[in-house]
């Protein structure tokens, strides 16, 4: 039995931990691939003063002035109506510290740079485009270089030589940015070479995919760690039990002359072999957990950050080694107390310890003091911390403090219960629960943490969900959305729509890419139409915001952008546009959930004036009710559009909700795992305690309480402490939710969601907690109810 619980503990600890690690590793590999193309914001770079492309001569001039720069040209092209990012790189000067891009492009330099060149693409993108390696699709009226699959590349990007990119994008001798290598050779002052035409962008944290997604991985890791520690609780109690049971044997061995060192060595070897076995099984389980969760993790990362993670799990050997190591280390850590006891064990049985109250009071005081200290740290962090890490630290401190103070809370609650008890059995019920506290506290802490995290995350997800749905209604106000294969087709479609009576309005859409504060932003064009005026989810706005938007000298900014750049209504910004910088006054802030990029919204007509080459192939349609489906069918038939190009509002919403739900399904799954592990911890603790509890229960039985009654009391006791713990977990969980919404989300995603409490959810969790406690207590209690009198009598017999 202990062997089973020991293995279960180790396996679940290792499995959850290494599962989470596998996910993180997978994502990191993907970021490395991304870095291979992005050149990355991890690298310092020079960009045009107004973020527009600049002449390549500046690159040559800078090289000749000692600058270790490498040029890049970036743009979007349409391949079969699908928009793809095209990145032109210069492999010879590309700094080696820029991901693995140099190796990627230099693999076959000759083929890459000399006509017709090569177009490197991630295998996934190749599949998405439905093209084979070696194919030469068309874009901008040019036959593109043959495609070559390159596993290291991030999906959604085509990489070509810069010279070829200049031809495809029709920007001869133009460069979008210069990456700066790390070479320390002397260089001339930037201004003396480039005047004020270039601007230095330091490696930026904000746009860095890895940093951006750190919060997500921190989140996963936190869950993994939590589960791991909960698993160790199980191991700890199993080992403690095994040790207690073997105590007489160990004593005998010691008495026979086996040295403590020898005994310990044997115990450690046994433990390590068990940990090895459990670690291996745990790793396999972890692999399956990771494989099962990966699609959701990938969906989350794509939805939240636009990070592309491949759906197939690939693991490095180091992962396996680390998993085994953590299993062994965990087992040893969990066994440390027992082993230490074994070393110091006197050969003869020890005398009675101190009175349990004194012992317990001392322990409670210590823990409470520690908890208060941790709470003080948390308060300090709330006051002075301003980073995501600080946010998580607040959460961690909050949970740790709550876990530490839990025994005191329980103690107080039980003491109150004891004081109110009138009947002797009631008195005993409370008093005995108090005495049991020290044995159960670890498991109860695990339960507390699991519940609090569940409440916290559940509340956050629920709050998000509610806000998101309302927001979605505002954002998806048109009835039909369509994106044409080209601007020409878009014009044809508009002409065609003009003659359709059921179309009440055609709402042109357009977006352009620009930059603000060195980070890329989207500029969205909103037509001046009631559909937008009535529905657009403005969080804050100046008076007459929509009227003021019309002339084109004002804009709305997304919440993320406003938080990141500390922009508010009334502030002014300057957005680089092809014709020069575009000064805009902010007249509104709107919610833009799930968009990794900053966004501003301007009047549509103004956008087309300022960004003449912005693609105008998207539009929304207002359509008379129940005419939507026939219209879509007609559109698809007339213009050979497929489902990707045209969709009705309901489909879009369903799709968005589906993505949204997947985004949090990982969290939900880990939540469930954690709760499950906490339940197992409680079970093993109770099993461990069950044996040592017989001497306490036997006198009651002798005095005249039936076994059935005793069993019922035991069950009730477990449920009572679980209930108190759960009740304590509720406010803690709400606090956690508040932390997530008000601190962590704001730092991680850039939006703050309204805080809602969902009583039904809380009640549900209470029930789950009680159910977990019931399940955990059922086995030991059933054993007690069916226990043979002989087992109880044995307690009274002289020799124990």
């Amino acid at each position: 039995m202990q062997l089973a619980t020991l293995l279960i503990g180790l396996i679940s600890a290792t499995a959850l931990w290494s599962g989470v690690q596998a996910l993180n590793q997978q994502a990191r590999n993907a970021y490395d691939r991304a870095a291979a193309t992005f050149g990355g914001s991890r690298t310092a770079m020079l960009v045009g003063k107004d973020s527009a492309a600049f002449p390549q001569k500046l690159f040559v001039d800078l090289r000749r002035a000692g600058w270790p720069v490498s040029p890049m040209l970036e743009g979007r092209i349409q391949i079969d109506g699908r928009s793809v990012r095209l990145l032109g790189v210069e492999p010879v000067t590309l700094p080696s510290e820029v991901g693995n891009a140099p190796a990627v492009a230099r693999g076959n330099l000759l083929a890459f740079v000399t006509p017709p060149g090569e177009m490197l693409v991630a295998p996934e993108t190749l599949r998405d485009l439905d093209l084979k390696e070696g194919a030469r699709p068309q874009a901008n009226g040019i036959t593109l270089p043959p495609l070559r699959a390159q596993r290291e590349l991030t999906p959604g990007v085509l990489v070509v030589d810069i010279g070829i990119a200049q031809q495809i994008l029709k920007q001869p001798d133009q460069v979008s940015r210069l990456l700066i290598g790390k070479s320390k050779a002397p260089r001339a002052a930037l201004e003396s070479v480039a005047g004020d035409r270039l601007r230095l962008v330091e490696p930026s944290a904000e746009t860095d995919l890895e940093r951006l997604t750190d919060s997500f991985h921190l989140n996963l890791t936190a869950f993994g760690l939590l589960s791991f520690f909960v698993g160790l609780f199980i191991v700890n109690s199993a080992i403690g039990l095994a040790f207690e049971q073997r105590l007489p044997m160990l004593r005998t061995l010691r008495a026979c002359g086996v040295s403590a060192r020898m005994l310990n060595t044997v115990l450690v070897i046994e433990l390590v072999s068990l940990a090895l076995v459990a670690g291996l099984i745990g790793l396999v389980c972890g692999y399956f957990i990771a494989a099962a969760l990966l699609p959701d993790v990938a969906a989350s990362l794509r939805g939240l950050y636009g990070a592309q993670i491949p759906g197939e799990l690939s693991l490095k050997p180091i992962w396996w080694l680390a998993g085994i190591a953590i299993s062994i280390l965990g087992a040893l850590a969990a066994a440390a107390a027992s082993l230490a006891k074994a070393i110091r064990m006197p050969i003869l049985a020890t005398a009675q310890p101190q009175a349990w109250q004194q012992e317990q009071r001392r322990w409670l005081m210590l823990q409470t003091a520690a908890a208060l200290a941790v709470f003080a740290v948390a308060a300090g962090l709330v006051q002075f911390g301003d980073s995501l890490i600080a946010g998580f630290a607040v959460l961690a401190a909050l949970m740790l403090g709550a876990a530490l103070i839990l025994p005191m809370v329980l103690q107080i609650a039980l003491a109150l219960g004891q004081r109110s008890a009138r009947k002797p059995v009631g008195l005993w019920f409370w008093a005995d629960s108090r005495q049991q506290l020290s044995g159960l506290s670890l498991a109860l802490m695990a339960l507390l943490l699991a519940l609090a995290v569940n409440v916290g995350v559940g509340t956050m997800v629920e709050s998000f969900s509610r806000t998101f749905l309302v927001w979605l209604d505002g954002r998806l106000a048109a009835d039909v959305y369509l994106s044409a294969a080209s601007d020409t087709q878009a014009k044809e479609i508009r002409d065609w729509l003009r003659d359709r009576p059921e179309v009440q309005a055609v709402l042109p859409g357009g977006r352009a890419d620009s930059q603000l504060g060195g980070a890329p932003i989207e500029v969205l064009g909103l037509p001046d139409h009631a559909t937008y005026r009535d529905n657009w989810p403005l969080l804050d706005s100046a008076a007459n915001a929509w009227v003021r938007l019309r002339p084109g000298d004002t804009c709305f900014v997304s919440e993320q952008l406003s938080r990141r750049m500390k922009l508010a209504v009334g502030d002014r910004i300057e957005v680089p546009a092809p014709g020069g910088s575009w000064p805009l006054e902010i007249v509104g802030v709107y919610a833009d959930y799930g968009n990794p990029k900053g966004q501003i919204a301007v009047n549509f007509a103004a956008l087309t004036r300022r960004f003449p080459q912005a693609p105008l192939n998207r539009m929304g349609l207002r359509v008379a009710p129940d005419k939507t489906a026939p219209l879509i069918a007609a559109l698809q038939q007339t213009f050979a559009l497929d489902d990707r190009n045209v969709a009705d509002q309901a489909t879009m919403k369903t799709e968005s909700k589906r993505i949204f739900n997947r985004t949090f399904s990982v969290t939900a799954a880990l939540n469930t795992f954690t709760l499950g592990v906490a339940g197992i911890a409680l079970l093993t603790s109770l099993l461990t305690l069950a044996n040592s509890r017989l001497p306490q229960l036997a006198p009651l039985w002798a005095i005249g309480l039936t076994r059935r009654r005793l069993a019922a009391l035991e069950l009730l006791k477990t449920m009572a402490v679980a209930l108190i713990t759960a009740l304590f977990a509720l406010p803690l969980g709400l606090l956690v939710a508040w932390c997530l919404l008000a601190i962590v989300n704001v730092k991680a995603f850039g939006w703050r969601l309204p805080f809602h409490v969902f009583p039904l959810q809380l009640i549900e969790l209470l029930a789950v907690a009680l159910l977990a406690a019931l399940c955990a207590a059922a086995l030991p209690v059933a054993r007690l109810a069916r226990m043979q009198p002989a087992s109880l009598i044995r307690i009274f017999v002289n020799e124990r």
Binding site: Q56, K57, F59, V60, R63, R64, A65, G66, E90, P91, V92, T93, P102, A103, R106, G107, N108, L109, L110, V113, T114, P115, D161, I162, G163, I164, Q166, D173, S183, K184, A185, P186, R187
Partner: protein, 359 residues
């Protein structure tokens, strides 16, 4: 002298390797590669200056190579190297702009008795990051350059300004020459093997140099001698040739000696060289009866390099032993080799440069 070409071909291979990718290296700098599509090196070429100071893009590989033996006011000795390599990734019509098939590589180094500093940089042709213009003479890659100064004479390739800078060293030298450049080999045709490998090769061994080195931020005023090599070819090395040991020596009385030993896979070796008199005439050194022999080795990065040598040319009455200024003159570039200043004594005493490839 054909070995001279060979050594640079190896350095050219270095360039390929520095660019990463074996395929690439094999693709355009394979040492025994045939020269399909590239211009061939044939005897009887008429050299024309300044035009031939400029690039010959129809040939696969080419370089501008300067080594200088320098000393400061206190007599401490130094060396400086400035090299620009050009390689064509493929034959055929020259591409314009980014489509150019030319790739350039610069190596620069300074050497003292205690330090040896190296810099390396790469550039695509066609856009102006690196190039050589014959008139007015100007060779450059990034911020490194060799430029003809006022009064530049195409026949003496002087006066020149030579500049390079890397993270931990830089130099600026002025090179002057009172005697014209000289054609190596047979009127500039330098045969490398019996199988047709050869190069065009001329040198200016008569430079005097003056200027300033900066090592770790400390400037040092220096003067001394310098030697320029110009060489281009399409198929510089036979496939069974593994490496070489090359000397350029400034002899007393303004005589110069270029000498190298070409090593083959089968352990055999061939000696080539030219003895240059102050009036600019050069005579080839016969392979038989002459020898260069390693005396002592230095271990660098698990490689054993013979850094001290005995050179014996009995017909010329020359018997000398050479010692390096800094035995660790290791060029830790993409393709590593040893190149550094040496001293020699014996029947003749003086200074020079040693290069060792293929260890």
């Amino acid at each position: 002298m054909n070995a001279r070409l060979t050594r640079r071909a190896f350095a050219g291979g270095a360039m390929a390797l520095a660019l990463g990718g074996k395929t690439f290296a094999q693709g355009f700098a394979g040492l025994g590669e045939t020269a399909d599509g590239f211009a061939a090196v044939t005897p009887g070429r008429t050299f024309a200056f300044p035009a031939d100071h400029g690039p010959h893009p129809e040939f696969r590989i080419e370089w501008w190579y300067v080594t200088a033996n320098l000393s400061d006011a206190g007599g401490a000795m130094y060396g400086a190297q400035w090299t620009l390599f050009r390689q064509a990734m493929k034959a055929g019509p020259q591409g314009e702009g980014w489509a150019s098939q030319q790739v350039w590589m610069g190596h620069a180094a300074v050497t003292s008795a205690t330090v040896h500093r190296v810099g390396e940089t790469l550039a695509r042709g066609g856009i102006g990051q690196a190039n050589v213009e014959a008139a007015p003479f100007h060779a450059w890659i990034d911020a490194w350059e060799m430029r003809g100064l006022d009064g530049f004479d195409a026949q003496t390739v002087a006066p020149l300004e030579l500049k390079a800078a890397a993270a931990d060293f830089s130099y600026a030298l002025r090179l002057e020459a009172g005697r014209p450049l000289m054609l190596q080999g047979d009127h500039g045709y330098s045969r490398k093997s019996d199988r047709g490998q050869a190069s065009y090769y001329y040198s200016q061994p008569f430079f005097t140099a003056s200027g300033r080195l900066v090592i770790d931020g400390k400037p040092i005023e220096v003067t001394g001698h310098a030697w320029m090599d110009r060489e281009w070819s399409s198929q510089p090395l036979a496939s069974d040739q593994t490496g070489w040991d090359w000397f350029s020596l400034h002899l007393p009385g303004d005589e110069k000696l270029m000498l190298y030993r070409l090593r083959q896979k089968d352990g055999r070796e061939n000696l080539f060289g030219n003895w240059i008199t102050p009036d600019g005439r050069s005579a080839e050194i016969a392979a038989s009866g002459n020898s260069i022999t390693p005396l002592a080795t230095t271990e660098i990065d698990d490689r054993k390099l013979p850094t001290s040598w005995r050179v014996s040319l009995p017909a010329r009455g020359l018997a000398i032993e050479t010692t390096p200024l800094n035995p660790k003159s290791w060029m830790g570039t993409g393709f590593p080799y040893w190149e550094g200043p040496i001293r020699f004594a014996g029947s003749h005493a003086g200074i020079g440069y040693l290069e060792m490839i293929g260890y």
